[in-house]
Amino acid sequence: MDQPMELLQGTLDMLILKAVSLGPLHGYGVLLRVQQISKDRLEIQQGSLYPALYRLEHQGWITSEWGESENKRRAKYYRLTAAGKRKLQTEAEKWNRMADVIAGILRSTPEEV
């Protein structure tokens, strides 16, 4: 198994939006979901997860409500809002474009320059 990578600056918000877009999650669930879909290759600082959740909620991209967890405990669940869905889409496109550009640059050979 690869050593988990630290997150790139500014990608945490996008990952959280993606994670909750697949279904309502509590904070710990977001953490697990990201680890699961990244096959444990990404590591999220737990301490920075909650400020990010609060920020996203304050900005109106996710919304929260209290519900019951798998083990019958009260937990706060986050869900994507319509605005959050649009945000995720534009962020994803931006990310893909950026990744293409960066990849293109890194692939370039001396002849091309």
């Binding site: 737990q46 920075s48 920020r55 109106g60 405990r73 706060k76």
Partner: protein, 877 residues
């Protein structure tokens, strides 16, 4: 970020920080426990799992702090922060704060006081259930605010009651009648109302004890019942719980008490209600107010349309035209407040000006301080405070000042309202009992304070923060005032303009009042005492009985010490009423529409009143029922009927179709008198000797006048004793003629005083304002003055420089204010007596006053500048 989510987040923060904190705690501890459980499932011991989970999570407190930041500082929290900081700033400058707070307290307090009265008198609902559905029905010639009291003639009322579809109930009532109450303490004249039996149910207010009137009560033989007000029941009958069924005596008649109204009910200004049955006969020409309660779902407009249709189809009586029936549906409250509304609104307008001036003053103060805080703002904005954040901070400070000012203003208003109610002419302001500082007033003051704080705070706030943004730290440290002076001048000029408008208004009112006071009423009111009484029909049934009473009273009055002359008249000039009517001229024609006042007087009446006899003779004791009829006419009657001829010996008659014995020979001519008020025209009058008048209706209401050589109040006791001798059951009203005159001028006097008070406050604020602007300019330019003087400027030059600046401000203020006054004083038109709203001498005098007092205010700082020592001035910074 959507506005909604931001709002929701604020709202949540506002609902309580502790709830957010609790939820955050719960959420984080859930995370750690869930994590620990997962660890425990993979075989770690429970204690160890929890510890590891905590370590993995990292600093919980730091995460919480970051969460709080991410959520954003709530509006409430930041406002609290702003206010706390503002409070600290204000405490640091107690002098500044005190001046600002006092100025605003004056402005807001005066406004609150006036609003309290406006609210109580004009705005608060009448104390009946669903009072907003009660309306007056009126079919009178209309015109003006109650030149004609709203009302319906009895004939029209009966027809309307049959046909009407819009009202649940209509009831007819009388307003302003009085009656003698005897047998319950001293005899007293009390206000009474005769009402049709639907009256109480139309108002949806039933007696608290007993019952209201039943159908049929009020018909002859069935009308000896009475309902008392709660107050009368307590004052006069010691709240006797057994009073129902007992009889009391009103106007000498026994009436059975059937009900006591709830406390506070006194509509239409009565203490006793008696049943009224409307009967039509050929002599009935009564017009009385009619109140109706609209049916649910019927609008006043529909009722108006119905009434118009009714007026259209109702047959005209003899001598009536369509114009005599103007259909009007009027809110019931207007019956009481229509006359007072214009003057209250005028006060409200005037007092708003005072507040605007106070705002301008405080804005100037804040501007002055803002300049001194340029550096602070520059530092804060450099450290990252946003423009909006700084504006908000300064607005919080100004609002804080105006809120404190508002709180002090409520205190001032409390006294102000007391002063207003004490000064208000007695009986001229209705619904005074409704005036009090209630929730609406407090809400008004709160709103006014906040608006005020924002209004005067906005300009200084943007100015001050503009500094921070525009200037570097280094520059801001130096005081630069150029930009401020412009705004400050604008504020001062508008302040002067507003003050000039108020002063002009007050000046016009004052001039009008002085004119009114100087009016010659046609008689000499000094050293005259009057005693008015109403003889009840029940005891005094015939004219001869009444005449005997009058003669005895007059005889005894003339024997009182220091009495020079005594007389009697049925309706005293400037009193409660008059009898107007038509008459016939022998061998001639009475000009169309020429009606005269028809007083009945005793022989020595003219002497007692000091009315000069212009021609002929006075009445004598021998002008009695057996002698040929005589009359004395007033000058305008003589001039109108017999221009250029000798009126003596001409004959007139008060009857429409005079028989030979009805003709009256004119034996004298007297001056015209002001019967209805000093501001009104003199009424033409035809006087008759009371001994020759047979109708009891003309004789039962009588005012005795006594001219004395000593102060008139001193004979009052003697007059009372005379009346007790003649008939101890009659209540009387004793007043000096001077006080009756004063009563008629009480309202204009009150208006003048109040407006003058506002204008003087405005003047004082303005003078303080212009002084402040100039003093500040001098202080700011000390260095410049030093340089100028070092370069050889004389102190006179410096003085001139500042006075020139002051003169420019004053000229602009006077010009603007003059134009404003010219446009606005016309609202005073209806309050002014023989003074035009654009009276040039008043405008000139007021403007001169303002110029002189402003110059005086400017002279002090300008002199200070003149005396400045160049060395000190240069070292100033």
């Amino acid at each position: 970020m959507t506005l909604w989510s931001r709002f929701r987040s604020w709202l949540r923060a506002a609902m309580g920080r502790s709830r957010m904190e609790r939820e955050m705690d719960a959420e984080l501890s859930f995370h750690i426990e869930a994590f620990a459980e997962d660890l425990a499932r993979s075989g770690v011991p429970r204690e160890e799992a929890l510890r590891r989970a905590r370590i993995e999570f990292g600093g919980i407190e730091r995460a919480k702090e970051k969460c709080r930041e991410a959520r954003g500082l709530s509006l409430v929290e930041s406002i609290v922060q702003d206010l706390r900081f503002g409070l600290r700033m204000l405490r640091k400058n107690p002098g500044f704060t005190a001046v600002a707070v006092i100025t605003l307290a004056l402005g807001i307090g005066a406004n609150t006081a006036v609003f309290t009265v406006v609210n109580g008198v004009l705005l608060r609902a009448m104390p009946f259930p669903e009072a907003e559905r009660l309306f007056l029905v009126s079919l009178t010639p209309g015109g003006g605010p109650f030149e004609w009291q709203p009302g319906v003639s009895d004939r029209d009322y009966l027809a309307f009651r049959e046909q009407d579809q819009a009202f649940e109930q209509v009831a007819c009532f009388t307003k302003g009648s009085t009656a003698n109450l005897t047998g319950a303490g001293d005899p007293a004249q009390i206000p009474v109302a005769y009402v049709t039996t639907e009256f109480f149910s139309a108002l949806r207010t039933n007696p608290e004890i007993g019952r209201g009137f039943l159908t049929g009560e009020g018909e002859p033989g069935n009308d000896s019942v009475v309902v008392l007000s709660n107050e009368l029941w307590k004052d006069r009958f010691a709240a006797d719980s057994e009073i129902l069924g007992k009889t009391i005596r009103i106007d000498g008649l026994s009436r059975t008490v059937i009900g006591i109204m709830p406390p506070g009910f006194e509509f239409p200004g009565a203490k006793v209600w008696m049943p009224l049955a409307i009967r039509i006969n050929e002599h009935n020409s009564f017009t009385r107010p009619v109140v109706g309660r609209l049916k649910p779902g019927v609008s006043p407009q529909q009722a108006q349309a119905e009434l118009e249709t009714f007026a259209e189809h109702q047959p005209l009586g003899p001598g009536e035209s369509k114009k005599d029936r103007m259909a009007q549906i009027i809110p019931l409250k207007d019956l009481l407040v229509a006359n007072i509304r214009p003057s209250l609104l005028m006060f409200a307008g005037a007092v708003a000006f005072v507040l605007l001036i106070a705002c301008a003053n405080v804005a100037n103060l804040f501007l002055a301080r803002a300049a001194g805080r340029g550096q602070e703002m520059a530092v804060r904005s450099t450290l990252g405070a946003s423009h909006w954040r700084l504006v908000r901070q300064l607005l919080a400070e100004s609002t804080l000042v105006s809120l404190i000012g508002g709180a002090a203003g409520i205190l001032l208003a409390h006294w102000g309202v007391q002063a207003l109610t004490a000064l208000a002419p007695a009986g001229k302001v209705p619904r005074m009992e409704m005036v009090r500082i209630d929730g609406w007033v407090l809400a008004f003051t709160l709103g006014l304070s906040v608006v005020t704080g924002v209004v005067f705070g906005l300009v200084p706030a943007f100015q001050a923060t503009g500094y921070g943004a525009r200037r570097s730290l280094g520059q801001a440290a130096r005081t630069v005032i150029g930009g401020h002076e412009g705004i400050r001048s604008v504020l001062t000029v508008s302040e002067m303009g507003l003050a000039l408008i108020l002063l002009t208004g007050a000046g016009l009112m004052l001039k009008s009042f002085l004119r009114l006071r100087a009016v010659n009423p046609g008689f000499s009111p000094h050293s005259v005492m009057t005693m008015t009484l109403d003889l009840p029909e029940s005891t005094y049934t015939s004219a001869s009985q009444i005449r005997t009473f009058h003669r005895r009273t007059l005889e005894e009055l003339s024997r009182l010490p220091a009495v020079l002359a005594s007389g009697a008249v049925n309706w005293i000039p400037l009193g409660q009423g008059l009898v107007m009517g038509t008459f016939q001229v022998e061998g001639g024609q009475r000009p169309r529409g020429f009606m005269v006042d028809k007083p009945c007087v005793s022989p020595s009446y003219f002497r007692a009143m000091g009315m000069p006899l212009l021609r002929g003779r006075e009445f004598t004791e021998s002008d009695n029922a057996t002698a040929p009829g005589v009359a004395i006419v007033s000058q305008s009657v003589a001039r109108t009927l017999w221009p250029g001829q000798d009126p003596l010996g001409k004959r007139i008659s008060m009857e429409d179709e005079p028989k030979p014995e009805d003709w009256l020979t004119v034996v004298g001519v007297v001056d015209d008198v002001k019967q209805q008020g000093l501001a009104k025209n003199s009424e033409p009058a035809i006087y008759q000797p009371y001994l020759q008048v047979a109708s009891t209706g003309f004789l039962s209401h009588m005012t005795f006048v006594v001219r004395t050589g000593s102060p008139p109040e001193r004979v009052a006791a003697g007059m009372r004793a005379v009346l007790r001798n003649v008939d101890k059951n009659q209540p009387i009203a004793i007043a000096s003629m001077d006080s009756l005159v004063a009563t008629t001028t009480a309202e204009p006097q009150f208006q003048t005083r109040l407006l003058a008070t506002f204008a003087l406050v405005a003047l004082a604020l303005t003078i303080v304002g212009i002084y402040g602007v100039l003093a500040y300019a001098v202080a700011q330019r000390t260095r410049e003055i030093g340089v100028r003087m070092a370069l050889g400027a004389q102190s006179a030059d410096v003085l001139q420089m500042f006075l020139r600046k002051a003169l420019v401000l004053i000229t602009m203020g006077i010009t603007l204010g003059g134009a404003g006054a010219f446009a606005l004083t016309r609202v005073l038109m209806k309050f002014l007596f023989e003074v035009k709203p654009t009276d040039v001498p008043t405008f000139a005098t007021v403007a001169l006053t303002l110029v002189l007092s402003s110059l005086a205010a400017c002279y002090v700082p300008a002199r200070r500048a003149m005396k400045a020592d160049p060395m000190v001035a240069l070292r100033y910074e």
